[in-house]
């Protein structure tokens, strides 16, 4: 990428039919996007139970990143603002469902239903004001808040991004933290200008998981040339982890309500399980914080 496409035109204008086709037929791009997506999927740290997950691909474009999800056995929903990119995705018969939409307008998805989200080379686009009505801060907020809502408790969202500068990285990170996410930035190959890649790794709610996956590759000070033969697994950590008190836990995260509990209990009883009797305490509302 010689210059930054984000600065040239709004995404739906920049990724027109010609650019979308060019993008998707470049073997170099295909290879890079597949590699970034593999890494993002790895950073998602999904439970290894062999059950396919329902994932989101934000700024899915022509489906290059989504294909990695499919290859790993997952179902995905892809969102993109460029009709030309999506047309190519559907021409290529990707397995995911495609939506034409603007992440800056927030995601219209039900709460808690998505098992994880990836976004490859897309979120930096949100930092530009392409229309007079655009306020990057508000658009980032709408995006991250709605993303937080639709993710299942403990689910992660991983963004590979190309921030233009420190301010932009800060802007994105802040919006994510304000929405309630915990997490930070993982940098792979920080000492190599060519291979350096940044991933924003966010966790929704809590999960008692190992943090070992949240390691950057190639940050142990040893020479980090662009030599592909290096043993990537032996590189060490680079993470700036941040935590913010979780908020909004009381909404639909775990709180299924009395009716739901009664129904489940009834189901269990019918199956002959030993279920405690219903009392006035069953499924009662708890204090917001404890």
């Amino acid at each position: 990428m010689a210059s930054r496409p984000e600065l040239l035109a709004p995404p739906e204008v920049f990724y027109d039919d010609t650019e979308a086709r060019k993008y998707t037929s470049s073997s170099r791009i295909i290879e890079i996007q597949a590699m970034l997506s593999e890494r993002a999927l790895e950073l998602l740290a999904l439970p290894e139970d062999d059950v396919p997950k329902l994932l989101l691909d934000i700024g899915c474009g022509s489906g290059l990143s989504g294909e990695t999800l499919t290859e790993n056995g997952h179902h995905w929903i892809g969102l993109d603002i460029s009709p030309s990119m999506l047309n190519i995705a559907s021409e290529r018969e990707v397995e995911g469902d495609l939506l034409l939409g603007d992440m800056g307008q927030g995601l219209g998805l039900r709460p808690g239903v998505i098992d994880g989200a990836i976004s490859i080379s897309a979120v930096q686009w949100l930092c530009n004001a392409d229309k007079s009505s655009h306020n990057p801060r508000l658009r980032l907020k709408a995006f991250f808040t709605s993303l937080y809502r639709c993710l299942a408790n403990g689910a992660r969202a991983v963004f590979q991004l190309y921030p233009e500068n420190l301010d932009q990285r800060e802007l994105i990170l802040n919006a994510a933290m304000h929405a309630g996410f915990a997490g930070g930035i993982v940098v792979d190959f920080p000492h190599s200008s060519k291979r350096r890649k940044e991933f924003l790794v966010l966790t929704c709610g809590q999960r008692s998981t190992n943090t070992s996956v949240t390691k950057g590759k190639g940050e142990d000070g040893e020479s980090c040339s662009d030599d592909e033969s290096e043993d990537e697994e032996n590189k060490t950590v680079s993470i700036s982890d941040r935590h913010r008190p979780r908020k909004k836990q009381k909404h639909n995260k775990g709180g299924k309500g009395r009716e739901w509990i009664m129904r489940k209990k009834e189901q269990m009883r019918r199956r002959g399980n030993d279920v405690p009797p219903n009392t006035k305490y069953t499924g009662r509302k708890r204090k917001d914080r404890f």
């Binding site: 059950v51 495609l98 939506l99 927030g106 998805l109 039900r110 189901q267 019918r270």
Partner: protein, 122 residues
């Protein structure tokens, strides 16, 4: 777009308090066979809003789903294969999704719903 996605999607228009489920207007539905994975179906069964799912499948021309279900249905292979078919093999190719509260139509072309909001809807 498949019912899998339809069941997760809601209208995001400013001021709308209950944008789910979007009503399906189907002009063209296509079927594509995919391999069945019972584990995935069982997992999705807990997430699916059943009524919206049944209504959606009916709008897409598939009427073989039971109106009422509890988790015991998951033991039936016949149920699983119907559930699988409705969830993953039916694609809304042309038509629209209609916001239940405002009646705003989100057109679906070539299988892709256009969920872009107008400026005054954000």
């Amino acid at each position: 777009m498949r019912l899998l996605t339809h069941n997760m999607l809601s209208s995001n228009i400013k001021g709308v308090t209950n944008g789910f489920p979007l009503r399906i207007e189907a002009e063209k539905v296509v079927e594509k066979t995919v391999e069945m994975n019972p584990d995935f179906l069982k997992k999705m069964f807990d997430k699916i809003q059943w009524k919206a799912f049944v209504d959606g499948s009916r709008a897409m021309g598939f009427t073989e789903l039971p109106e009422e279900v509890d988790s015991s249905v998951l033991e039936s292979d016949e149920f699983l294969s119907r559930f699988h078919h409705a969830l993953l093999e039916l694609h809304l190719e042309e038509g629209a999704l209609v916001c239940p509260e405002t009646g705003r139509r989100f057109p679906v072309n070539k299988g892709i719903p256009n969920m872009l909001l107008h400026e005054d809807e954000v």
